[in-house]
Amino acid sequence: MQIRLAGIGGQGVVLAGVILGEAAAIEGLNVLQTQDYSSASRGGHSIADVIISKEPIYDVMVTEADVLVALHQLGYDTVKDSLKEDGLLIIDTDLVKPDRDYVGAPFTRLAEETTGLALTVNMVALGYLVAKTGVVKKENVEEAIRRRVPKGTEEINLRAFRAGYEEGLK
């Protein structure tokens, strides 16, 4: 499965991709994660690709995304053409105005309401993605979050992830 996460610098898109990849690795699946971002540390597009498969992976980037998660209009506009026709588009409904069918929620607002921090939007979106697709098990993502987020922020990030997950189950 080819999953692409798109946003702008500062939204934690790459970290969300790394955590999703780590969760797949914990499950024993083959996984590849690459990124593409502008040289600005804030603003500018930020794209994380995750390819998960039981077979060996030869691709080095997403070419035909099965799932595109867009957290910002700039990220969406940069890569929207890579989403398959029958692919799943997941968006932050406050920040992205798509030109095709989609699912989603106001992830950034949800993040602020849940943790008080807009920057946990990446974990909210990741939770939503995992609930909607079942691509990896929830508990493996939680393990990956514990391993990968800065020490001391585990609980905040897990809370954001679970809020997104619950939203995705609705």
Partner: protein
């Protein structure tokens, strides 16, 4: 001993990180470097890990000093490594020659980015293939390995140390920004399951007196270690078997250089590693190395689905080069395609190997992105 990362299990890490961990597991205990994108993460990991395994990681003033330091460390008995990218690799060329001439086992990692000069620092390329072989001056040879996955980055780093130690030679691990920065699931073996090679040490005074001779008849002399009781002279000047400069004696020079080149060339079938995919009945072949091989494998699968009998020869070793194997391939197939992320480098080696027995066509791509499988397919279909 305890390692500063999990062993005997899979992990999800970048290529640069895999290279650092493999070096530690290969027994590397001295790292000297100067930060440069996209190789800096190797240095970062080494700076973190080395103190925890009683090793040394040191930042030098530049890349010239970095390679000089690892050559010194190797003569002090350590397995030693440095890592850089194009601009730094250019600076290291003179001392790569010094390591060849003094038969010093070292590992030099070059994480390729687009050049020339500072070029595109964050983007991948394969523009240093020829430089990795021929960048230093004078008659010489060395070993160049080229990984295409994070697992191979790990495995080939171990191999690089083993070959450096076995043949007393510098080994270049030639990778690129894409492999360096991608994360993949990688199996980190248990240290007990990793086969490690150590340089031959002199067993007696007589052997120690011939650090540049051929006391074993295999072209690979034992290497005395500074501080271990033998008097040794090490110089980049042409030297005799004892290491004494003999700069105007044609016979000494010829004997030395022919042995240094011979110890690699005569053992090239031990050194060279490659993989064949669907080549048995192939009518067209793709020859590739490094990151492009991934797209090439997919291209072969797509071509086979289209009914075209395509196959792939993936070169894990770039140098020494098996020209005879390419000629055999050229006798079998009608045409050979060489996709690479430069304006044509591996292409020239393949063309020389094919020896006119098959047409050889370059599929060049520059600018920082890897060929897509379809870009290769379209050129093969024509």
């Amino acid at each position: 001993m305890r390692y500063p990362f999990p062993v005997g299990k899979a992990d999800f890490i970048q290529g640069d990180e895999a290279i650092a961990r493999a070096a530690i597991l290969a027994g590397c205990r001295f790292y000297a470097g100067y930060p440069i994108t996209p190789a800096s993460e190797i240095f970062e990991a080494m700076a973190l890990y080395m103190p925890l395994v009683d090793g040394v990681s040191i930042q030098m003033e530049d890349e010239i000093a970095s390679i000089a330091a690892i050559i010194g460390a190797s003569w002090a008995g350590a397995k030693a490594m440095t890592a850089t990218s194009g601009p730094g690799f250019s600076l290291m060329q003179e001392n790569i020659g010094y390591a060849v001439m003094t038969e010093t086992p070292i590992v030099v990692v070059n994480v390729q980015r687009s050049g020339p000069s500072t070029g595109q620092p964050t983007l991948a390329a394969q523009g240093d293939i020829m430089q990795s072989i021929w960048g230093t001056h004078g008659d010489h040879t060395l070993i160049v390995l080229s990984p295409s996955t994070v697992q191979e980055a790990f495995d080939f780093t171990i191999k690089a140390f083993n070959l450096a130690e076995k043949y007393r030679t510098p080994v270049v691990l030639l990778t690129d920004a894409e492999v360096a920065h991608m994360r993949e699931r990688v199996y980190i073996p248990n240290p007990d399951d990793i086969e490690l090679v150590y340089r031959k040490l002199p067993q007696n005074e007589e052997e120690a007196r011939l650090p540049f001779g051929d006391p074993h008849g295999d072209g690979i002399p034992s290497m005395p270690i500074f501080g271990k009781g033998y008097r040794t002279y090490v110089t980049g000047l042409t030297h005799d078997e004892r290491g004494r400069p003999k700069t105007v004696d044609a016979e000494v020079h010829e004997r030395l250089i022919k042995r240094i080149i011979g110890k690699i060339e005569n053992n090239k079938h031990d050194i060279i590693s490659y993989e064949k995919f669907e080549l048995e009945d192939a009518e067209v072949a793709i020859v590739s190395t490094g990151i492009v091989s991934r797209s090439a494998i997919r291209a072969v699968k797509i071509l086979r689905e289209k009914g075209i009998k395509a196959g792939l020869l993936k070169l894990n070793t770039i140098w020494p080069f098996d020209f005879d194997m390419i000629e055999e391939l050229a006798e079998q197939v009608k045409k050979i395609f060489v996709p690479e992320m430069n304006m044509g480098q591996l292409y020239h080696l393949v063309k020389e190997g094919a020896n006119g027995k098959a047409e050889v066509e370059l599929i060049s791509k520059i600018g920082g992105e890897v060929h897509t499988p379809m870009e290769i397919v379209e050129r093969v279909v024509g």
